[in-house]
């Protein structure tokens, strides 16, 4: 961000300003950097990001600003200028180790030689000692050939020649070497060879190389090595693409996933090859046994055979006889009898992923299926149709029971679980199916046989996200389960049967179940909070919907369920031609109207949100003018919600699943929280009674004060209880027991979440929309800059629309920001205030000079020169300042002209022009430091960079900003909906702030009396070199002013 290290130099000029002194000041806030900061910083605090960190962060900061009477204008980034994008791309390239081109290398070599010549000329002029023995050359040559140096070279002439960099070669009068000496490779040859190889590689299409071919093996080892390492580098996952670029390349997440896996696979292969080539491999390349993963008493070994590699479990000694076979590229060749040990590489076979295997949704979840398609064949219907309550509840009880047993026994031994479930398998086909799933939840390990069968069933409902999750979980479970082999033997039979029988059904059901399962429970809660909030706001359905849509994208980010899947889902639903509302209504009936009956099943003992949901649903009913058909109303609610959660697709199923999920998951935790259960049961009943007298309420009615408070209190309590409960759960079961699906789910989710977040460094439009929505509710004006927010802030200041700029980005000075407040939100009493004027007075740095610093040290717009830090940059500026000689800067010159002077001087040196003998210390130091490293040409002070900073694309509209007052109600609703804060929590902060805003504002004297800036240069504490550089600069600028 900003100009590298510039703050270090500017730091001492800061003026501490009390926040109170900023009262009534209009300040432009560079907000884009904020979102970024929150993205980066907030997630680390809790170890995981929460989707609305930016909202919370902004909220807190806005409150702080308002509390101190500051009138902020938020400025958002519009886009990144080409220059910036280029620089970022270049930087990334460099980071990823892209080598310099042959042309660059040639240039560099030439320049090195010329510089040497110039040096030798200069030094010869001074001292006429230049006798170069051959040995000392060897010493310099070590970069080519790290052979032990002849020690006599050192002893003979240890100080006569000191190389300044690896390209610094001593002048040789004669050059001799033994042709036999293999360590020797003369300069020319070495470069020739390097260049040859480079050229070779540049000229071939690397993709066309088949490293397994005979021809490849015939190549010299060095070439093989280089090609392989190139290939390996190229197979890196992202290959330098940004997330967005990848998105356009792979519009379908699935494709990307496949692609990634391919790359991993390739890279693995290349690594292997590389090891072979470089001899890092074991002595016998045919038989490598190395531990790659496993338990204490288990190891998987990778063996080379005729077809490729074999992965096998070594424990039972079956490694040789029962291997997983891999094809040339390391793909697992599946065989029916293979045990379900998954090698890492298997993930590329996503086609064969046993999605169902990780389905932790128990039996009763599947009960929802008939809701979706009630006209399914009879036996199934009778089993699954919720209308047949007897059967259903019986089933549920059974389920609960088995779960109880599970929980009790799971800590003791996994085996007993398995046996239990295997017994259960026999009971009935349906049950078998469910049980299997359940067992699989525990064991999460499926044979490839299963995979193949089930794949047919679920092909359409897969998503890459889930595949990844599966894999992760699988890896984890693999460690946990010791008895998987046994189960695996049992399972295929039953599973296959079931799968075949239930083919259409499962296909449908599964897809939903996956959906539900993919959601982290935490997220389900959030969603439900949203729903609650939704109900709350029925008067502004439209608005809410809009907002929901904004927020929706956020959810997509948080859990990358691609909308493709939704579409799939949708299509499936359409195929069935099933009217959606009916099932949903049924569902709602179950939830809200038949509470007493469904007690066991529906009541969610631990889900606080759920408890809240029911009353809200009732209230929704009572709010609505037409109370005749509650079902219809419910359907409406769903309509409202659906766009919120999934893109434009009206995928109502998802919501129901989520709700269902939340509801259905509960029995899992039932034993742990009986008291909460009671509470929840009471609640819906109580709420059922209410709607009667509230029939005539208008749509825009929300809760009466007391009711609102009560609900809020309830929410609070429940939240606390939930936290308590969650921690209890963790204590009780810990993360290691595989049976407590919830905690595992959570921790896995967190990991995934972190990864997602890290990948999505970029600020999404959804986040910006969120913030802008909130700002509107705060009555704070905001603008979106055409390009960079910092530049727009500077422009606002120039237009006198604001009194200062709040930013931590030093770029702002370069855009002409004259008054910048930094560290506004550190927990310090004082804000650092920087004035461009003072910076010039104290440091001698003008805006132009700061741009020149950027050109040297690097910024968003330019890469800078490698090796030049801020102090060196200041020295260069002071040394090459054209004002130093009293000359004023020529009008047509870029910046102050210092860099042009610098470039001319360096190019002279580069071209071998001997320097005058009276060169200043700084110049000789620079020469020493950058010889062979720095190459400048006439393009050096890039005029585009000056252009970019001096004439940024900004909006010069000088319409005055207007500030409104925060709308407490709207903010409450917003925060409720987005971050799930209840009224109490919002009011805690907001009410004092708003109260304070309504009071009279303390003015400051600055508004009445003009400030006389100190004219005297301040004595700032800084480093010696910096001090002398700034001294020079200020002296020069004074000279300039006088002249």
């Amino acid at each position: 961000m900003g100009v590298h290290q510039l703050w270090n130099v500017l730091g001492p000029t800061a003026r501490p300003v009390r926040l109170e002194a900023l009262s009534r000041k209009k300040l432009a806030v560079d907000a884009s950097i904020w979102i970024y900061q929150f993205l980066k910083a907030v997630r680390d605090k809790e170890g995981r990001a929460f989707a609305s960190s930016h909202i919370v962060g902004f909220f807190k900061r806005i409150c702080k600003l308002l509390f101190f009477g500051i009138e902020p204008v938020f400025v958002f980034d519009g886009g990144a200028p080409i220059l910036k994008r280029k620089t970022i791309a270049k930087r990334r390239e460099r980071r990823e180790g892209k080598r310099e081109t042959v042309e660059q290398a040639a240039k560099r070599l030439l320049a090195t030689q010329l510089q040497n010549k110039a040096d030798s000329l200069t030094s010869k002029r001074k001292t006429k000692k230049d006798d170069t023995p051959f040995e000392s050359y060897l010493e310099d040559n070590d970069y080519l050939n790290p052979a032990p140096k002849p020690s006599k070279a050192k002893s003979e002439e240890p100080k006569s020649f000191r190389k300044e960099d690896e390209y610094h070669l001593q002048q040789l009068d004669a050059f001799e070497y033994s042709a036999e000496d293999k360590r020797m490779m003369i300069n020319f040859n070495a470069h020739q060879q390097a260049a040859d190889i480079e050229e070779l590689i540049d000229s071939i299409d690397l993709d066309s190389i088949d490293p397994s071919s005979e021809e490849f093996l015939a190549l010299p080892l060095a070439v093989q090595y280089i090609i392989l390492s190139h290939l390996r580098l190229r197979s890196r996952l992202r290959m330098g693409y940004t997330k967005n670029q990848l998105n356009t390349l792979f519009p379908n997440g699935m494709d990307f996933s496949k692609f990634q896996i391919q790359q991993v696979q390739k890279r693995n292969y290349f690594t292997q090859k590389l090891m072979n080539v470089s001899g890092m491999d074991a002595t016998n390349p045919e038989q490598i046994t190395r531990r790659i993963a496993g338990d204490v008493d288990k190891s998987y070994s990778l063996q080379k055979n005729d077809q490729g590699w074999t992965l096998a479990l070594a424990k039972d000694g079956s490694s040789a006889s029962n291997p997983i076979q891999l094809d040339d590229y390391g793909n697992v060749i599946k065989t029916e009898q293979t045990t379900a040990i998954k090698h890492e590489e298997e993930e590329d076979e996503d086609e064969e992923f046993p999605e169902e295997g990780w389905d932790e949704v128990p039996l009763d979840k599947v009960n929802n299926l008939p809701l979706l398609k009630p006209q399914e064949d009879l036996p199934r219907k009778s089993f699954m149709d919720p209308s047949i309550h007897g059967g259903q509840s019986a089933f549920t009880h059974e389920e609960l029971y088995t779960r109880d047993v599970e929980q009790q026994s799971k800590t003791e031994s996994l085996e007993s679980d398995d046996e239990e479930y295997n017994q259960a398998l026999v009971q009935s086909l349906y049950e078998m199916a469910k049980k299997n799933k359940q067992t699989k939840v525990k064991e999460t390990s499926v044979t490839s046989q299963d995979d193949l069968d089930l794949r047919k069933a679920v092909e359409e409902s897969k998503d890459d996200y889930f595949a990844l999750r599966n894999k992760e979980r699988e890896l984890m479970f693999k460690k946990n389960s010791t008895d998987e082999n046994m189960i695996l033997i049992d399972k295929p039979v039953s599973e296959t049967e079931v799968a075949e029988k239930n083919l259409p059904e499962i296909k449908f059901g599964k897809s939903f179940l996956f959906k539900g399962n993919n959601k982290p429970s935490e997220q389900v809660e959030v969603l439900q909070k949203d729903i609650i909030a939704e109900k709350n706001n029925s008067k502004e359905e439209m608005l809410e919907e809009e907002r929901k849509e904004e927020r929706e994208s956020e959810f997509v980010v948080a859990s990358p369920i691609s909308s493709d899947d939704d579409i799939d889902l949708d299509q499936e639903v359409k195929q069935k031609a099933q009217p959606l509302p009916s099932w949903f209504d049924n569902k709602v009936d179950q939830v809200s109207n038949q509470v007493p009956f469904n007690e066991d099943r529906v009541v969610d003992p631990n889900d606080d949100e759920k408890a809240g949901l029911i009353p809200f649903r009732e209230i929704e009913n009572m709010e609505s003018e037409d109370n005749s058909s509650p079902e219809a109303k419910e359907a409406e609610v769903v309509d409202l919600e659906s766009p919120a959660q999934y893109d434009d697709e009206p995928v109502k199923e998802n919501i129901s699943i989520e709700e269902g999920n939340a509801v259905e998951n509960k029995p899992n935790n039932l034993p742990a929280s009986p008291n909460e259960k009671d509470e929840v049961i009471d609640q819906p009943i109580e709420n059922n009674l209410k709607p009667a007298n509230a029939d005539n309420k208008l749509l825009d009615y929300y809760f009466s004060e007391s009711e609102e408070e009560r609900l809020a209190d309830q929410m609070m309590e429940e939240e606390d209880q939930h936290e308590q409960f969650a921690s209890d759960l963790q204590k009780q079961y810990g993360y290691t027991t595989s049976n407590t699906t919830v905690p595992i789910y959570d921790s896995k989710m967190k990991e995934q979440h972190k990864k997602d977040q890290r990948d999505s460094d970029e600020v999404t439009q959804g986040m910006i929309d969120d913030i802008q929505d909130m700002l509107t509710r705060f009555g704070i004006p905001y603008i979106t800059a055409p390009m960079e927010a910092e530049a727009q802030c500077a422009e606002l200041l120039k237009l006198k629309l604001v009194d200062g700029i709040i930013t931590d980005d030093s770029d702002c000075f370069l855009f002409g920001g004259e008054r910048i407040y930094k560290n506004m939100f550190n927990e310090k009493q004082y804000v650092e205030c920087y004035f461009l004027e003072e910076i010039q007075r104290d440091l001698g740095l003008t805006r132009n000079k700061m741009i020149e610093i950027a050109l040297l040290v690097g910024s968003d717009y330019t890469e800078g020169i490698k090796g030049i830090g801020i102090v060196t940059a200041m020295e260069i500026l002071s040394e090459f300042d054209p004002q130093k000689e009293g000359n004023s800067t020529p009008k047509n010159m870029l910046g102050s002209g210092s860099l042009i002077n610098f470039r001319n001087w360096w190019m002279d040196y580069q071209n071998g022009v001997p320097a005058p003998s009276n060169e200043s210390e700084i110049r000789t130091k620079l020469k020493r430091k950058f010889k062979g490293k720095l190459f400048l040409d006439f393009g050096f002070p890039d005029p585009q960079v000056f252009e970019g900073y001096l004439r940024p694309e900004v909006d010069s509209d000088d319409t005055k900003f207007q500030w409104g007052t925060p709308d407490l109600d709207q903010l409450r609703r917003f925060l409720m909906a987005t971050v799930g804060w209840d009224q109490k929590k919002v009011d805690e902060v907001l009410v004092p702030v708003i109260r304070d805003m309504n009071k009279k504002k303390q003015t400051t004297l600055g508004e009445f009396f003009p400030t006389e800036m100190l004219q005297k240069r301040r004595n700032l504490t800084m480093g010696k070199r910096l001090k002398s550089a700034t001294d020079k600069l200020t002296k020069n600028s004074k000279k300039q002013r006088k002249g």
């Binding site: 501490p16 300003v17 009390r18 109170e20 002194a21 009262s23 009534r24 805003m997 309504n998 009071k999 009279k1000 504002k1001 303390q1002 003015t1003 400051t1004 004297l1005 600055g1006 508004e1007 009445f1008 009396f1009 003009p1010 400030t1011 006389e1012 800036m1013 100190l1014 005297k1016 301040r1018 004595n1019």
Partner: protein
């Protein structure tokens, strides 16, 4: 070379006490005419302007203009060491990095000498030019201090409404309201007890109580305080010195609509 001798140490003591709570350090600008100070509190609401004219001193000389950056807390501690009735001499060389403070006991033959390290303070100055005044109130400084203290109990701001024949100090807070009215009065026997109100324009201004309680710390400097008010401008609260003044410029509070 600066050298100034106060007849009594108490004067400087009072001045420093009046200033040190709102300003931690300030520059003493010494010229041949006397010593002046301008300092702003760090919330930039209250400005202190001090002028100690040459005549205030028993002896005074200043050959060249000197700026002495003084930490008021430290100065206050040192001055506290002397008795109120002592002669107090401050002196500093040109380009000095410390200030000499000498107390001379008038009765005993005792001299205490202290050095105070000077600071390099780079505060920007506010250009406080001559101001038009819409209303001027002069009242006993103790009365004003009491009004401020009493009203602070109720609210964090004090409203001053000046009409033709009275000045109303009003405070509206959460717990209730308070009103104090003072009217012009001439006390010939005790001229310091007189109250005068002169008015060009009715005034209605609000000030922060917090800052007013800083201002009334100067009460002991003078028996009278003069309040100069101008619409939509900072109020000026002036305490006269034997020769010179200590003035406070206080930025008013405005309604948001302004």
């Amino acid at each position: 070379m600066l050298e100034g001798k106060f007849e009594e140490a108490s004067l400087l003591k009072k001045i420093v006490e009046a200033m040190k709570d709102c300003v931690s350090s300030c520059n003493f600008n010494c010229t041949e005419n006397g010593i002046s100070v301008q300092a702003v509190d760090n919330s930039r609401v209250l400005l202190i302007s001090l002028l100690i004219e040459k005549d205030t001193f028993e002896e005074y000389r200043c050959d060249r203009n000197i700026t002495l950056g003084v930490g008021l807390g430290s100065l206050s501690k040192i001055i506290g060491n002397g008795a109120n009735s002592d002669y107090l001499t401050i002196s500093a060389d040109d380009d000095a990095d410390k200030l000499n403070i000498i107390f001379e006991d008038k009765v005993k033959d005792k001299i205490s000498e202290y050095n105070l390290k000077l600071l390099d303070i780079d505060a920007d100055l506010l250009d406080v030019g001559p101001m038009d005044t819409d209303a001027t109130i002069t009242l006993p400084s103790a009365d004003f201090a009491k009004i401020c203290k009493d009203m602070k109990v109720l609210s964090e701001s004090l409203q001053i409404i000046v009409t033709k024949d009275s000045a109303l100090f009003q405070s509206v807070g959460d717990i209730g309201t308070g009103n104090i009215v003072i009217r012009p009065k001439t006390d010939i026997d005790h001229p310091e007890e007189s109250v005068t109100i002169s008015l060009d324009k009715p005034i209605d201004l609000s000030f922060g109580s917090k800052y007013l309680s800083d201002i009334i710390k100067a009460t002991s400097l003078s028996q009278k305080v003069t309040i100069k008010l101008t619409d939509q401008s900072p109020g000026v609260f002036e305490y006269k010195l034997p020769s010179g003044y200590l003035r406070f410029y206080l930025a008013p509070k405005f309604d948001e609509s302004n």
